[in-house]
């Protein structure tokens, strides 16, 4: 694993979280976010990709009062405080859903499929939800 480095006695790996599922219909989005938050304490090199229906996780204006679930979307805004700052969104997924960067509740870098491809190849561990 060429990407590994030793630093302060610990290994630093590149972790990629691939988020492909919509929120609320299933719990994967919420429980994936819980992994990211806990994982932040390990000071690894973390990136998040939102593609396919995963882009809906960070769509603005979520209001869950009617479904009586917890709205966890504000937590994505808190990721910065955990030093999780590399958020990528696939352009093709946004386009297919009629969404643009303006519809998202956090600052992200929009990438083409080709760029996501290169990002994936640059990782050590890929966690998919």
């Amino acid at each position: 694993m060429s990407e590994e480095m030793m630093e302060e006695g610990g290994t630093i790996k590149k972790f990629l979280y691939v988020n492909r599922k919509a929120p609320y219909g299933t719990v994967y989005a919420l429980e994936s976010l819980e992994v990211v938050l806990i994982g932040a304490a390990f000071e690894q090199d973390v990136s998040l990709v939102f593609m396919d229906d995963g882009v809906f996780q960070i769509t603005k204006g979520q209001d869950t009062a009617g479904v009586e679930m917890k709205n966890f979307s504000p937590t994505y805004r808190a990721l910065e405080m955990y030093d999780v700052e590399k958020l990528f969104v696939e352009k093709e997924s946004l386009d297919a859903r009629g969404l643009t960067e303006d519809d998202l509740l956090v600052p992200v870098e929009v990438m083409t499929s080709e760029q996501i491809r290169d990002l994936m190849e640059d990782q050590d561990v890929i966690l998919s939800f």
Partner: protein, 130 residues
């Protein structure tokens, strides 16, 4: 009108149990009768009394138990599906030599025939699942 409800997925993982609950509550509020709620597949996992969901989230199982108590609902967990997934009442515990039971208040374990009967007796059967 007489409704029957089928729930095919467990709590939290899929929205099915939430939608079924909110539908059932709305039907009762409108004066309809709920003949039975039948929990099948992973839906049987709604019937465990061992969950401790986060404080700021809904408690899916308790909500069903409370609705059942208030409206005298018949919440039936399929026995075959429950055996595959580990939902156990006192009878099942003894029969299968298990160390504990975990069935929540207001739920009972019974056979698949209860689903067919619900389909026959109710005016409408609505299925919620994955």
């Amino acid at each position: 009108m007489k409704f029957a409800i089928q729930v095919n997925e467990g709590p939290y993982t899929h929205e099915a149990s939430d939608t079924a609950y909110l539908f059932t509550r709305a039907a009762l509020e409108k004066g309809h009768e709920i003949f039975r709620v039948f929990f099948y597949h992973d839906g049987v996992n709604n019937g465990t009394n061992l969950t401790t969901p986060p404080q700021d989230d809904r408690n899916v199982t308790n909500r069903w138990s409370e609705l059942a108590a208030k409206h005298n609902l018949d919440l039936v967990v399929c026995v075959a599906a429950a055996q595959r997934r580990g939902i156990v009442d006192e009878g099942e515990m003894k029969r299968n030599g298990k160390s504990a039971q975990n069935i929540a208040d207001g739920f009972r374990i019974s056979g698949l025939g209860q689903l067919i009967e619900a389909g026959i007796q109710a005016d409408r059967l609505v299925v919620f699942g994955d």
